[in-house]
């Protein structure tokens, strides 16, 4: 790939699961020794990248399907193996306090370390790398494409970047060296040591906090809540710019009590300035039996979080809703007007409210 992508070029593998043997023929380019694992007896391996801590036999893969034990050594199979690449508005991630109105070169490989029943990208997240079409895009190419497409950031997104950790870290270094920032869109299911290393190379992290109960994480996500909360705390301790998205799913994570507990926890453990986005669910993958989230539910969630004292609470996936806008928490003046993924009005002045001069946290330039 030497040419710039069109702004809206989307290389997501539209037809999944092609004749994979042909695709696998050149997979040596994508194989690199993995990080964060330990040897166990009898050629077994324990992966320590995410809290799942898979124990993997020789010739087997971990839960994420992209890391493989080959003769007692652990490898990633997705280094530079990009199955989705797109130039998106950064609001689509969504980041509302990171360089509003700019473009983000957004990439993913196949695989994920959880299996959310509402996944909107399951056709790339819940498959093995050889089951989707991918292109070879080494880190220097990622950086070059971001610049060629006038992107202010590279976003590691769509699936779960934790599982393509090695590629993400190597790319982040190349991208930063090229003068472009790095942002990560993640479920936050990662152990602390790799998270800390990652944070040395990236500028902002958006965490999908999928609910505020272990029950939901166990039954709907196939993961755990506690490590995700730990990730959020670690991010804040490290001074990483962090935003939270909470996808509101009717009947599963939409009670007043859960919204309130969530808002209180965010305020006390992370601070009131962390943006919290309540976004609308649409039925898909394994949750087709539920309706889309009523807008009123999102407004209820926002009202509760506002009342608990969070400063930046948003409504998402409802284009044109006033809850997409950023307001000054002090004087209530509108600071950033949005419609869907687009910025319609930018009134911030050097990161401050133009009216009362209150500083608004984020990455603005």
């Amino acid at each position: 790939m030497g040419e710039a992508l069109d702004r809206r070029t989307f290389l997501k593998a539209a037809s999944t699961l092609p004749c994979m043997r042909a695709l696998a023929a050149d997979d040596a380019r994508y194989v690199a020794e993995a990080r964060f694992w330990e040897k166990l007896p009898h050629r077994k391996i324990k992966c320590k990248l995410c809290p799942r801590e898979c124990v993997i036999d020789d010739r087997e893969r971990g839960y994420c399907g992209v890391r493989e034990n080959r003769g007692g050594v652990y490898y990633t199979l997705v280094h530079s193996r990009v199955c989705a690449a797109n130039v998106d508005p950064i609001e689509k991630k969504p980041f509302f306090h990171v360089l509003p109105g700019t473009l983000s070169f957004s990439i993913a490989t196949a695989g994920c370390n959880v299996n959310c029943k509402m996944c909107q990208n399951w056709d790339i997240s819940q498959v093995r790398p050889e089951q989707v079409r991918s292109i070879y895009m080494p880190p220097r190419e990622v950086a070059a494409l971001a610049r060629q497409n006038r992107c202010a950031t590279v976003a590691y997104t769509y699936t779960e970047p934790v599982i393509f950790y090695e590629f993400m870290v190597d790319s982040a270094e190349a991208v930063r060296a090229a003068g472009v920032r790095n942002v990560v869109v993640t479920g936050g299911y990662i152990t602390t040591e790799p998270l800390k290393e990652l944070c040395k190379r990236v500028d902002a992290v958006k965490v999908d906090l999928k609910a505020f109960t272990e029950k939901f994480y166990r039954e709907v996500v196939n993961g755990e809540l506690k490590p995700v909360l730990q990730t959020l705390v670690t991010l804040r301790k490290l001074g990483m710019w962090t935003e939270i998205v909470y996808l509101v799913i009717p009947t599963l994570n939409d009670s007043d009590q859960e919204f309130r507990q969530l808002a209180r926890w965010v305020k006390s453990e992370l601070g009131p300035e962390v943006p919290l986005h309540f976004t609308r669910f649409h039925p898909q993958y394994l949750l087709k039996n539920l309706p889309p989230t009523p807008v009123k539910t999102l407004e209820r969630a926002k009202a509760i979080a506002d009342a608990e004292g969070l400063h930046y609470v948003y409504v998402g996936n409802v284009p044109g809703h006033p809850g997409e806008n950023t307001f000054c928490p002090k004087c209530r003046r509108v600071l950033i007007e949005r419609e869907g993924f687009f910025v319609r009005g930018m009134h911030l002045k050097q990161g401050r409210c133009p009216g009362c001069r209150h500083p608004i946290p984020g990455i603005w330039g």
Partner: protein, 333 residues
């Protein structure tokens, strides 16, 4: 329309074909025929057939293995001739998929010699060579277990899902949501499940039920919680329930620890085959055989090491079969 008698080598000629780069997706539409005997009278019978003298000079004697298979099939179906037994499983004109288990390479995979004999018997029962497909997840796995990839349409085919592909639409049941292998959904009218007798380091054991993990695109998602309820839920996906007609567990060698990889230090020659229509009953008996061997070697039961295969119970609750030892007729031959 039984085939004229052939030598085993002639019959398996198809498996010696080129590693051809033929176009994938050479699927065949489902015939829509109802599978014979999906609710068989012998639903909870398990034949455990053994031959202490199965090996000569360290390797499996094909004639004795063929005799063992015949004995097992005749006993299970209570018939006088092997061909009568096979005719209760398949009908001429059907495409028969043989789902082997090749993950662990030579040593802990379905033996090609057993599959060869089964292909011979199928042809004697009227199945054309071209209507037999030997399949597993990956071509590499098949090759590492000793099979040769064969894609020609005029012979027995040997192919992995990586060559044949998966459906585009999800199949779901309970915790399972998967794309099913076209080998199962489009090509095979009937499937004969050919698992191995083996310990599994995560889900306890791998036998008949778990072998169908090879029919889905995402088996790595189904190992948490010692595989419960995933193993049972995957087996509930309709094409699996509808098409798998028989399980013949290759218990020539068993492995009581260290699976699914091949660990020779924990393998033992069981010199046997397990035959059942009911995969739950087969798994219950196979699990017991593994536990007995563990006990004989002074090892703790799987329950005590946190690997009790509870999914066998779950499968019984789903109605796939019975796991109650008192309701399983174990027939030793």
């Amino acid at each position: 329309m039984p085939a004229a008698p052939k030598t085993r080598r002639e019959i398996l000629g198809g498996c010696l074909g080129l590693l051809a780069a033929e176009a994938c997706g050479q699927g065949r539409e489902q015939t829509g025929k109802s599978p014979s005997g999906t609710q068989p009278t012998g639903a909870s019978r398990v034949v455990v057939a053994r031959e202490p003298a199965l090996r000569t000079g360290g390797s499996v004697d094909s004639k004795r293995l063929a005799a063992l298979l015949d004995r097992a099939m005749q006993a299970f179906f209570n018939v006088d001739k092997p061909v009568e037994a096979w005719r209760k499983v398949v009908r001429p004109g059907e495409v028969v998929g043989l789902k082997v288990n090749c993950l662990a390479g030579k040593g802990a995979s379905t033996h090609p010699i057993l599959v060869e004999i089964i292909c011979e018997r199928l042809q004697e029962a009227g199945i054309r060579a071209r209507d037999i497909l030997i399949w597993d997840r990956l071509c590499d796995d098949l090759e590492s277990a000793g099979f040769r990839i064969a894609t020609g349409r005029d012979r027995i085919r040997v192919m992995g899902n990586d060559l044949l592909g998966y459906e585009d639409e999800l199949s779901t049941f309970g915790s399972a949501g998967s794309l099913l292998a076209k080998a199962l959904t489009r090509i095979s009218d009937a499937v004969i499940n050919l698992p191995v007798l083996k310990d599994h380091g995560i889900v306890g054991v791998t036998l008949a039920l778990k072998n169908l993990f090879g029919a889905v695109h995402n088996p790595n998602k189904y190992h948490p919680n010692v595989g419960d309820p995933y193993v049972a839920d995957v087996y509930m996906l309709p094409p699996i329930r509808q098409k798998v007609r028989l399980a013949i567990c290759d218990a020539i060698d068993g492995q009581y620890e260290g699976g699914p990889s091949y660990m020779p230090q924990w393998s033992w020659p069981f010199n046997g085959l397990l035959v059942a229509r009911d995969p739950v009953a087969l798994d219950r008996i196979g699990w017991q055989i593994i536990e007995d061997e563990r006990a004989r070697r002074g090892m703790k039961p799987l329950r005590e090491v946190g690997r009790e295969p509870r999914w066998i119970r779950t499968a019984a609750r789903h109605g796939i079969g019975t796991d109650d030892p008192n309701r399983i007729q174990r027939i030793e031959v």
